[in-house]
Structure formats: structure tokens, C-alpha cells
Symmetry: C2
Subunit: 351 residues, 2 copies
């Protein structure tokens, strides 16, 4: 198979700019590796609310369901953040999309680049050689449990719910990934307080019996938030629930020196979505300064997923070539820097 | 008033060792500042479970309720952590105590010590001058909402609930503290996803009207977990809910170089409890290597609370004197170090 249907959802803020670079890359890949990508564009987020009133229009969902992969930009707009009473919010579009496509596992690889190591707020000796893969459960927990605000506005609640079935598939994925790596899996939870965390611990304990070569250990989320900074090399594969994963993986992004470098894949039984881990960065919108690398490396994860391994490898090499040659955006080098589209073209040219 | 009833709960792991040093300090303070402390000891945590079956015996609760202040050591034991099916857990003792005493605000001051700045995993220029005060809501949210595990063990849930009344008192405390400092308050939440977070945002927006001199801003918890490491000097006073506060404040402890230095106060209408932010550190139990400073600085916060300001100031000076003279435990200097009790005595002698 060398024909792929890609749903493209640029979204809000800097989303469209970085997605442009990813498309540029895919056009070059198509030529170099003799394959064809068909792009279907869809609206999502604040952009979709402004145009249709709906953060995830039916048409967008349809395009995504029929795709071989979804390429996602970014979501979120300060207009909604500062209004606690807005009924419709951009983020609902992304959350609904994750749920409808059953994207239960969000995978975030973290590593350091030799030439960028001094950009990190952490000391070189702390982070050099750190290499972590985070598995965050993405379609359950407090994000998707019942929510309620009483009409008088006196109280509100959010329910965090997990069943064994929500945990088992992602746990297997994480164990299998650990087998391919240093064979160490850390489950992050708050089992000294939460019933759901104890269910995670118990379920993972059982699954661990099927992976006797993997060492499973447990860490409370408060301690993990500390250990990730004190000693990131302690970690190999991390497995955690939705809310803790949101916090821990953004925190862990500081290890690599820039959140502008970090890709993610969200995968389910049938569909998969690829997006940078950074947000919509509204202050930078339209300025041509956004770092396209996180989105471009998300394309590399997409190529892995489509079994275009040679293309994925070549793309990663080209990104490293750009970074090692300091052909980067302003977030990585304030003295000598290039625009979003210059960096995208430089990477494309190297492929 | 110069007579104070202090409830002393050493708890688990290194708790008893560090509490011994705090008592040593209080004995010296009593003499130097002409006051009297009466100590009532109580069982709590794993220690209490082993001896009475109950992590918070009635007698302990009674001592605490009748006290002017509670001095708390540490809680937690690996025997329970590794058993997801244990019905009775040490942490329940502390949680119940917080609830019964109505200790709604957990206050954690964070600062850096000039002589220890190079101990931090973060670079000097990132942390030098950072000074943050965290207010964590302590008796509501997902810690205390309804919890359920179905008897078959197929699913579980935890409810995060907040009412305006839970938020208002701690919000006022945080605004008032900000007024005394740099007049900047950051509310950390996940208002783009959670109803409870939107209630926090709305309630704080209203209260902000009473503090026009304080600048209130909002930050999503995932972004905050990143910004705390990228730019800790951005923060002055932080206000947040229970679970986020647990994670964020442990994470923020890396700024100062050692979690062994950080005290906390948990205050309510009638009672107050003082404890180090570190855990029971079971691996170090009985070895005389634990750092007593966090517990001793918790005593300083207790002296503030009892309006013994001169004593509190003198105690803080004595701690700084010990640190500047490198009279510290092994966690702060692996080349030349002193035992838990040597450090306690050195500080006591300086008072
Ligand atoms: C935009 C927001 C709803 C989302 C989340 O919290 O999952 C984002 O922070 C992420 O991590 O992808
Ligand atoms: C021991 C545990 C229940 C407790 C908490 O989560 O509140 C601790 O981590 C703390 O922060 O005081």
C-alpha cells in the first residue's frame, strides 16, 4: 500500500503555520519514497466554533474516521480560557475527537539533543542521556467522567472513573514497549489516596505476570513530579492515567530543552492522531516564529505508524541535521534564528 | 500567654528521629524566650495501625483538638503501598486528622539558600532569587470526595467535588498573603476541562474585586508544571486545589535543592499542624542520617503561629547559620556531613 488518506486539522493559534510545514515535508516524502498522500482538511477548536458554532463539526469527524491517520495542529484560544462560563469550548473538540476515535494511548517520546542540551533549565549532568517514553491513558478518567455544576453555581464535581478494560490495553502497550527498551516500567499513580489508582496498580500487577522480563515499579505522582527533575535517567517507560499524564508529560518536556521539539502519537484500535505536545501559543500566531519541529517529528511518528519506516528514519535524520547545524527557530537560538517556514524548507530540502 | 500545649505525632519512618530534634529545639526556645511547652504524644499512621489497628486513634485526635498546635513527623510505610488491597492505610490517619481539625489551607514557602544553590538540579540563573508561597486546599477535592471500588474489582471511581465555601476562605488567605508580598497571585487549575476548576476560577474572579492591588492570573496545571521549572521566578503566591497542590508543591521542592529543607503549615479555624513536606523515607529509618531541618523550620512556622515572633526569627537565623557553615546532613554534603542529632544540637546551641 502506498496511498494514504490523511485528515489534516490545523486548529488554532500557530496550528496552521506548523501544519503547513508538515505538509511541505509530506509532499517531499511522497516524491522521495514513491507514495501518495491525499489530504482532507477539517475544522476543529476555536476556529470551528467561530465558523460553525461546533468545536468538532460532523464533517471533521467523518474525515478523521475515514483516514489512515490524522495530522493535528493545536487547540485553544484565550477568549475561552478567561471566560469560566463559556458553554462551548475549543478543547471539547479535541476531547470528543479522542473519544470518538477511541485513541486510548497517548505516546510521548522524550530525548535530549546533544547540541541543545544547554538550553534546558536542568544541568547537563542531570539530563544527558535521559530517554523516556510516556504512555498516557487518553479517553477515560476525570476528563471523561460525569461533570456537574449546580445551576446556582454553589458547587461542582468531576468524576474520575476507570474500569479494568480501560487499563488493560494501554498497560500491554507499555509493557511491550518496555520489552524493546530497558525493560523498566514505572506506573505513576496516587494509590495511597485514590481507589482508581489502586485499580491501576492491581491491574498492572496482574498483567506484569505476562512480562516477567520487565521490571514494574510504582511511584506516587507527587514523588514522580520531583524525581523527573531530580533524576530523569531513573525512568525508561512511564505508564499513567489521563490527568496525571497531562501534568507529568508537560513537566517532562523541560528535560529536552524545548517543548517545541516534542511530538506525540495518540493511537486506538482503528485510528491514530499525531500532534505536537505544545499548545496553540496564541501570542505567536501569524508571526512566523513558531517552531515547526514538534509537528514535523509528529509526522515521523505517523510514518512509523503507516509502516513507512525508511521515510520516518530519513525524516528524523533531517531534523537532527537541522538542529545540529543550528538551523532553528528563535526559541532555540535568540542570536541566529530562522522563520517557521525556513526551518521547514531546510528540513524538506535535506530529504 | 506563654504556656502552650503541643500535640506531638512522630508517625512513621524517620518521623520520630526528626521530631526528637524539634523537641530539642523547643526545649531550648522555652528557656531562651521564657515560655513553656507541654508535649502530649500521640500515635498515628502505620505505627498506630500496628499498635491499635487504627491509623488515627481517638486519643490522638483528642490530644490534637485540645492543643495549641500539632507537631507532625511523617507518615507512610511500604508494607501498605505495595498492597493495593489493604483496607486500612497509614495515610488515612493523616487525611482524617486534616479533615477533623478542618485544616483547610496547606501553606508551603519555598526559597533558595545561597550556599545550597548548586545542589539544585536546576541551573543557578533559573532559581537564584526564586521565592514562592504555595497555598494548597487540603480538606476537599478528590481526596475527600466519594470513592468506590466495585466488589468484583471491575471498576472504581473517585469524585472531585468543590463548593464555593471550600474555596472562599483559602482564596482570601492567598490574596492577603500576596498583598504582603509582590502582589501577584497565580491560580493553578484545569479550567479547560474540569467543572470544579471553572468554579475555582469564577470564585477567585469575584474575590479578586476585593483585592484590586493584587494581580490575579490563571495557569493550566500542565503548563504550570512546566513553567515552575522553566521560570520559577515568574511566581509569587500560588493558589490551587488539593490534588494539583500535592503534585505542584512536591515538584517545586526541587527549586531549593533539597526536599529535606522544606516546612509546611496546615491551618484551620481552630487548629494548626506543622510538618515537613518530605515523606517517611523508610530506607533511612533509624540510621541517624535524616535531615531534621524541614521539621525544625516547621517549628519556626509554629512559633509564628503562636505569636512567638522573636523566637521564630532566632530559630530561622540559627538554621541559616548551620547551613551557611555547612553543618548539614549527608543529603546536602556527601563529603563532610553530620548526623540528624548533631545538626539538631548545632542549631539548638546557636539559639
Ligand atoms: C488542550 C487540552 C484539553 C489537552 C489535554 O489536557 O489533554 C492538552 O493539554 C494535551 O495534553 O493534549
Ligand atoms: C501522605 C499523603 C496522603 C499526603 C498527601 O497526598 O496529601 C502527602 O503527599 C502530602 O503532600 O502531605
Amino acid at each position: 500500500n502506498n496511498y494514504f488518506k490523511i485528515a489534516v486539522l490545523p486548529g488554532d493559534g500557530i496550528g496552521p503555520e506548523i501544519i503547513n510545514e508538515s505538509i511541505k515535508i509530506l509532499d517531499v516524502i511522497a516524491e522521495a519514497f514513491q507514495c501518495k498522500f491525499h489530504f482532507d482538511y477539517g475544522l476543529i477548536g476555536a476556529e470551528a466554533i467561530f465558523k460553525t458554532g461546533n468545536p468538532l463539526p460532523e464533517e471533521t469527524l467523518k474525515i478523521c474516521k475515514e483516514s489512515d491517520a490524522v495530522l493535528f495542529g493545536a487547540i485553544g484560544d484565550p477568549v475561552f480560557d478567561n471566560n469560566p462560563e463559556a458553554k462551548v469550548r475549543p478543547e471539547q473538540g479535541l476531547l470528543k475527537l479522542r473519544k470518538e476515535l477511541g485513541l486510548f494511548a497517548n505516546i510521548r517520546p522524550l530525548k535530549t539533543y546533544a547540541s541543545l542540551i544547554d538550553k534546558s533549565p536542568l544541568k547537563r549532568e542531570i539530563i544527558e542521556g535521559a530517554d523516556i517514553q510516556i504512555f498516557r491513558e487518553l479517553v477515560s478518567g476525570i476528563y471523561f467522567g460525569e461533570k456537574f455544576t449546580d445551576p446556582e453555581g454553589e458547587y461542582a464535581y468531576d468524576v474520575c472513573k476507570y474500569s479494568r478494560e480501560d487499563i488493560i490495553p494501554i498497560a500491554h502497550m507499555a509493557f511491550q514497549e518496555a520489552q524493546k527498551r530497558k525493560k523498566k516500567l514505572t506506573l505513576i499513580d496516587k494509590a495511597n489516596v485514590l481507589d482508581t489508582s489502586r485499580l491501576w496498580r492491581k491491574t498492572c500487577q496482574e498483567i506484569a505476570l505476562e512480562y516477567p522480563d520487565v521490571q514494574l515499579d510504582y511511584m506516587f505522582v507527587d514523588n514522580a513530579a520531583m524525581q523527573l527533575i531530580l533524576n530523569p535517567k531513573h525512568f525508561d517507560v512511564i505508564l499513567t492515567e489521563n490527568m496525571f499524564g497531562d501534568i507529568i508529560s508537560d513537566e517532562a518536556s523541560v528535560i529536552g530543552g524545548s517543548i517545541g521539539l516534542l511530538p506525540s502519537a495518540s493511537v486506538g484500535e482503528k485510528n491514530a492522531l499525531f500532534e505536537p505536545i505544545h499548545g496553540s501559543y496564541p501570542q505567536a500566531k501569524g508571526k512566523g516564529i513558531a517552531n515547526p519541529v514538534a509537528s514535523i517529528l509528529s509526522v515521523a511518528m505517523m510514518l512509523d505508524h503507516l509502516n513507512l519506516q525508511a521515510a520516518a528514519d530519513k525524516l528524523r535524520q533531517s531534523v537532527e541535521h537541522a538542529i545540529e547545524n543550528k538551523y532553528v527557530t528563535i526559541d532555540l537560538n535568540t542570536k541566529q534564528y530562522y522563520s517557521t517556514s525556513e526551518v521547514g524548507s531546510f528540513i524538506a530540502d535535506h530529504i
